[in-house]
């Protein structure tokens, strides 16, 4: 599936296929979310449940990353440049990250139940490969906008395009 973006600043929408159940193996190697130039990089990270995320501090100062989201509450405490913290995310949901030192920092980790997900590019396009054929429910999440859902019929072969409208 893919979608065409119509506007700029359309990155960081997370599109997931909601109704595919099963047991899926998370990646063996951790996924990285850096603290760099007082930002989380990437701003939105999408992972399969069970994935471990590394949080290296790449800034010449200390950060204190924490979250009070229901699906994962944690507080790393203060750690300085070069230090790395690791955490395994074992429940699906959206985890909002904050820094107790730098109020403007925010990031999101979207933990999904299955590996059929994508994060949109800056032009709004996204691509999810390997989706089993059949009728599925797509969900589009964004940190500030209301989530949208669409039903899609995935063919045996080829691709299907699903667009989400996000206004002006």
């Amino acid at each position: 599936m893919s979608a065409s973006g119509q506007k700029t600043d359309l990155a960081n929408f997370v599109i997931t296929v909601e109704d595919i159940e099963g047991t899926f193996s998370p990646p063996e190697r951790p996924v990285v979310m850096e603290q760099k130039e007082l930002r989380f990089v990437p701003h939105v990270l999408v992972i399969l449940v069970g994935t471990t995320v590394e949080f290296p501090n790449k800034d010449p100062l200390s950060h204190n990353i924490f979250s009070i989201s229901n699906s994962k509450r944690f507080n790393f405490g203060l750690y300085s440049q070069g230090a790395i913290r690791r955490l395994k995310f074992e429940k699906p949901g959206v985890v909002e990250l904050l820094c107790n030192v730098h109020l403007e920092m925010s990031g999101f980790i979207v933990v999904t139940k299955n590996p059929y997900f994508a994060r949109s590019e800056t032009d709004g396009s996204y691509r999810i490969v390997g989706v089993p054929p059949g009728r599925h429910r797509l969900r589009c999440w964004h940190e500030r906008l209301a989530a949208q859902e669409r039903m899609v019929q995935v063919p045996e072969t080829g691709s299907v395009t699903v667009d989400f409208s996000v206004g002006k």
């Binding site: 009070i68 990250l97 904050l98 403007e104 500030r144 206004g167």
Partner: protein, 434 residues
């Protein structure tokens, strides 16, 4: 003959051009909003400063678009804390806020030519008559502010007046309940001189004083106001205000009593008073003056001036208003009954009845014709004002307004309206905003 006629025509046209060049209006349109949303003034104004229905909803939402405000803002705010801190508060952190990227400052300059054929000074140029600094905007999603600092140039001196300066806090998710504090025009004022008036002459219902130095609606007050707006399913909706203010105008209070007022209105049909009620695809800048609807309202104001029996004036006002839009025509008016109790001397009670009716018609999208009849009659005999105010207002550009009016008095020209004498004549004005 032909040459003489041509000369007369050319001279007349030149005089008309000269006269029309000097024309102004009391400024209250605010270009910083136009900059913030990169949209024309006509998005919110029939003709600045008169708000259209969309502009009323914008104001009622605390100077924000009613729906999807973020997607229309072209100058994003600078966040002061990530939104995630809302979930952490109050145990930790400060509730996140925002500040506008650019200082929301605008200016308005008014040039006036007064023509008074029967006065000693028959033509008077006031260039400028007034320069205003206007500021307004939001501080995050719940707070907004508005300020209006006027520099008036008269008789060689410059008067500086903070006409308005207030902070507004929205207490509910919708604009149903807000708290305004500061210096402002009260919600009991029948029709705002800042956001509704197209003429230099204020609405008489706002302008009259029953006694010298007494109360009038046009005086800005200092205090608090609870106010709100709510859409109704069929369009329009409810607006209300409740206020507690000093009552002594823009001065500090002169007694321990606070003035109280209440107002309410209901609009049938038309654009929602709190917004469209649905997502906006885009901002519309044309034909926003059409809003077929009728609004009816009532208001009351009770107050006291002075701090001893020798100078105390107790007063109250009560009245109603009607505001109807029929295609390009806006018919509106108000009636106010005033009662003053002057303890100092003479018959203690003074009753005043004032009313006006006005029709504004959008002749062309950039020209509005104005005709108003109004009167204020006091039962003591020294307030007997009857006048018509015909006028025309033109947008040379969305932010350059040319207007002319020629009030004609039928009653006594000696009035207490502004502590002076009114006269037949004309006022020509040019106002520009940036």
């Amino acid at each position: 003959m032909k040459r003489s006629f041509a000369k007369v025509v050319i001279v007349s046209l030149m005089l008309l051009l000269v006269v029309l060049v000097f024309s102004t209006r009391r400024a209250s349109a605010i270009p910083s909003f136009a900059r913030r949303y990169e949209t024309a003034c006509t998005t919110c104004h029939v003709l600045p400063p008169k708000l259209n229905a969309f502009g009323v909803a914008f104001k009622n939402n605390g100077y924000r678009m009613s729906e999807d405000d973020e997607k229309f803002i072209k100058q994003p705010d600078i966040p002061m804390g990530s939104p995630g801190w809302k979930k952490v508060w109050p145990k930790g952190g400060v509730w996140p806020g925002a500040i506008q990227d650019r200082v929301p400052l605008s200016a308005a300059i008014e040039l006036v030519t007064d023509v008074a054929p029967k006065e000693p000074v028959k033509v008077d140029f006031a260039f400028p008559e007034e320069v205003e600094l206007l500021m307004g905007g939001t501080l995050g999603s719940r707070f907004s502010f508005f300020g209006d600092l006027a520099f008036e140039f008269e008789g060689g001196s410059t008067n500086v007046d903070l006409e308005r300066g207030h902070l507004n806090m929205r207490l509910t998710e919708s604009p149903l309940l807000n708290l305004r504090m500061g210096r402002f025009e009260t919600g009991a004022t029948p029709f705002s001189r800042f956001t509704y008036r197209l003429t230099d002459k204020d609405f008489i219902v706002s302008d009259f004083r029953a006694v010298d130095g007494g109360f009038r609606f046009r005086s800005r007050q200092q205090g608090f106001e609870l106010w709100g707006a709510k859409n109704s399913p069929g369009g329009g909706g409810l607006q209300y205000s409740l206020g507690l203010v000093n009552g002594s105008g823009s001065s500090n209070d002169d007694n321990s009593h606070k003035d109280f007022y209440a107002s309410g209105s209901y609009k049938f049909r038309g654009y929602g008073v709190a917004g469209a009620g649905k997502p906006l695809d885009s901002l519309k800048s044309t034909e926003n003056y059409i809003d077929n609807s009728v609004e009816v309202g009532a208001f009351t104001y009770i107050g006291r001036l002075g701090d001893s029996p020798s100078n105390e004036i107790r007063y109250n006002r009560a009245g109603f208003k009607v505001n109807a839009y029929i295609k390009r025509l806006n018919l509106f008016g108000a009636y106010v009954h005033g009662r003053e109790l002057v303890l100092e001397s003479g018959p203690p009670r003074i009753n005043t009845n004032a009313w006006f009716a006005e029709g504004d018609v959008v002749i062309l999208p950039w020209i509005t014709g104005i005709f108003r009849y109004e009167q204020a009659i006091g039962d003591r005999g020294f307030l007997q004002v009857k006048r018509v105010v015909p006028g025309v207002s033109m947008m040379l550009r969305a932010n350059i307004i040319l207007s002319a009016e020629a009030p004609v008095y039928f009653g006594d020209k000696n009035s207490l309206l502004n502590g002076g004498t009114e006269h037949n004549g004309a006022a020509f004005r040019l106002a520009f905003f940036f």
